[in-house]
């Protein structure tokens, strides 16, 4: 008992000040890319050719954050002449096409589906479905339940049954072997319901694009309301997206 109290006193209060105060991540964190529109086309083409995810459209000078794993290979070209990654972790989007960026993202808070704010703004219960992937997205979603992020303080919880949920939060490229289980889970959530695609796998197949064993795009199966890019999304990226979209 004394040990429990002693450790408790030692540990103190550790919950993140976000979103009440802005936080800065490590200087090496790669967030929203900054694109140089005036860059030499040859450099842009080199970046596009180098991108393992084929996320860069050289002619349009855009990056598809739904495909990007934020590996940073493009930012190494000519010392970031075309792309540099900023420390901005707020990157959620309500429409797939918004993720194809040439600069900024639209403000997520002012999306068109305002009824979700009214329905779920005070209480949001989500069922998580891991549909393939590498478990990094799941792990960095799970940490939202640790005392550091403490997701419950916002009235948002991950629940054990789709019957108790207001929507599903999907990770992974939707393997052929998870397709039915995913659709069954979706069907078991009572309407009105919300669908969140988290991580580049659920948005575009991620690193696995081109595999015959995956579906690769959640939106081709069920309509997606909120996209959270990343490989995996930083926990604060997810937290920001949930708060901006629903609050």
């Amino acid at each position: 008992m004394f040990k429990v109290i002693g450790t408790r006193l030692n540990q103190g209060y550790r919950t993140s000040p976000y979103p009440n105060q802005p936080v800065r991540l490590s200087s090496r964190f790669r967030g929203l890319p900054e694109i140089n529109a005036a860059c030499d086309p040859a450099i842009v083409r080199r970046c596009a050719g180098l991108c393992p995810q084929e996320a860069i459209a050289a002619e349009k000078r855009t990056i598809d954050l739904g495909r990007c794993t934020f590996c940073g290979a493009c930012a190494q070209v000519e010392d970031g002449a075309f792309v540099r990654f900023s420390g901005i972790f707020e990157m959620g989007a309500a429409r797939r096409e918004d993720l194809i960026v040439s600069g900024a993202l639209p403000d997520l808070a002012s999306h068109a589906k305002a009824h979700f704010k009214k329905l779920f703004g005070r209480s949001l219960q989500l069922r998580q479905v891991s549909a393939g992937g590498c478990n990094a997205c799941e792990a960095d979603t799970n940490v939202l339940n640790t005392p550091f992020f403490d997701l419950s303080r916002f009235g948002i919880d991950f629940v054990a049954s789709p019957r108790h949920a207001d929507g599903i939060h999907v990770t992974g490229p939707i393997t052929r072997n998870m397709r039915t289980a995913l659709l069954d889970t979706y069907a078991a959530v009572p309407a009105p319901k919300v669908v969140i695609a988290s991580g580049c796998c659920a948005i575009s197949g991620g690193p696995f694009y081109g595999s015959e064993d995956i579906i690769g795009d959640l939106n081709s199966l069920i309509p997606v309301d909120l996209y959270i890019p990343g490989c995996p999304p930083h926990p604060l990226t997810t937290l920001h997206a949930l708060l901006a979209f629903f609050k």
């Binding site: 450790t7 794993t69 934020f70 940073g72 891991s130 393939g132 992974g172 289980a181 995956i214 490989c231």
Partner: protein
Amino acid sequence: MASLLRIGNGEVVPRQHIPRIDFPRFLRVLTDFVRCNGYIVQFFAYPEGERMRLLAVLRNSELHVVETEVERDYPSLTLLAGAKFNLFEREIAEQYGLRPNGHPWLKMVRYHANASGRPDVFGNDYRTDIPGNYPYYRVEGEAIHEVGVGPVHAGIIEPGHFRFQCAGEEVLHLEIQLGYQHRGVERLLTTVPQRRWPILCEAIAGDTAIGHNLCCCQAIEALAGLDVEPGARTVRTIALELERLANHIGDLGALSGDVAFNPPAAYFGRIRGEFLNLLLELCGNRFGKSLVRPGGVTQAMGGEQRRIICAKIKELREEIVQVCDLLFSAHTVLARFEYTGTVNRALADQLGLVGPCGRASGLEYDVREFFPTERYADLPAITNRATNGDVYSRAMVRREEIVHALDLIEQLLAAPEEAHQPVRSAERRLAPASFVVTLNEGWRGEVSHCLLTDDDGALLRYKIKDPSFHNWTGLAMALRNQAISDFPLCNKSFNLSYCGFDL
């Protein structure tokens, strides 16, 4: 010609040097080998023109390779030589339609059509859902009930199906069916450009991104003849240990949560994140994705990173020691941990368990010590003291490895800084007609990748093995005659990878 060729970890071997022996001799050699303290690292099939070859990488205190040729079927080594071959043979049957005759339990592994176009060994129609027309093992009797769990679980975890045959609270048998995460990684790797390989290998199992990608990059380095600077090797070693720390600490927290002792669960949950943040300091990703690339690391570890890591480790060590003491001195915790989910040494040996699970059962095998890569040859090994094979031992092994990993990182950072250049992405020419196997001690145990190139230096076969491939059967056996309420605890004490297994 000798029956086995001795090889090194990450050593390129011309494929024609690999002893190719006829099947009866292959069977004899492998049977003798696994009976005398020998284990299987890799055992897989690959096509060579119209022919099918079976290749085995074996280990005792050294690594060996041997191969044979088979037609459509062959006598089962599982039947004749033991359970270590079980999953490997089933995987071969699933991937290439080669039947191991007499296999005692020939069941699909991941549920997908084979790549050779041969008739399906399991009689599956892959248009129907997993697990197809498979009759689960059943215990019959009036008092028996069956509990089915998954693929979608109650928490935020990966999918898998578990079937328990129970008499009251007691589990008589647990059958585990995986494959829900099968993404076709091995096949994809042979068809995509090299620049995608590290990204794919980092996504085999995100919690082992460093472990798997190290195997991939070391293999490319070997095949392309690339040198890695010592400073970059230090960064890779530190990254692998940070990955181990984050996961082991997370596991101790989760074990604590599973016995409803919440304070350590909360503290370790937060401390785990601190180690992920150190990986973020190194490379910009909390799982170490993008750090390791063929030839070195993408970002050099400078004075700033060294200072941050040193300071954090100093701060966290005290906290970890205190929370560990809280966890391991609580009687309520010990009462649940001790003598629960026991896998004794004989059984662990029979199954060929690896990593902390193997060491907790008394199998003293650690790739870092036996076949060291990166900086491990210069670093002290670890000896584990708790070897009863129960939940307690698996927790204690983690506790010891956490302290050991902190020591290793401090030792590496105490040495003078060695300058190293970040590496840039480039396609490398690989040695033609060659073979290489790489092994690293990931936090779950032996991670291994095996690459075969054809006469033009193109990839002929990419074989991946996550340590979970050895250990899932251990979990199933640990549950025998346990209360079903102890399943979460046993499961977490193994904490195996679904996606690493499913590929």
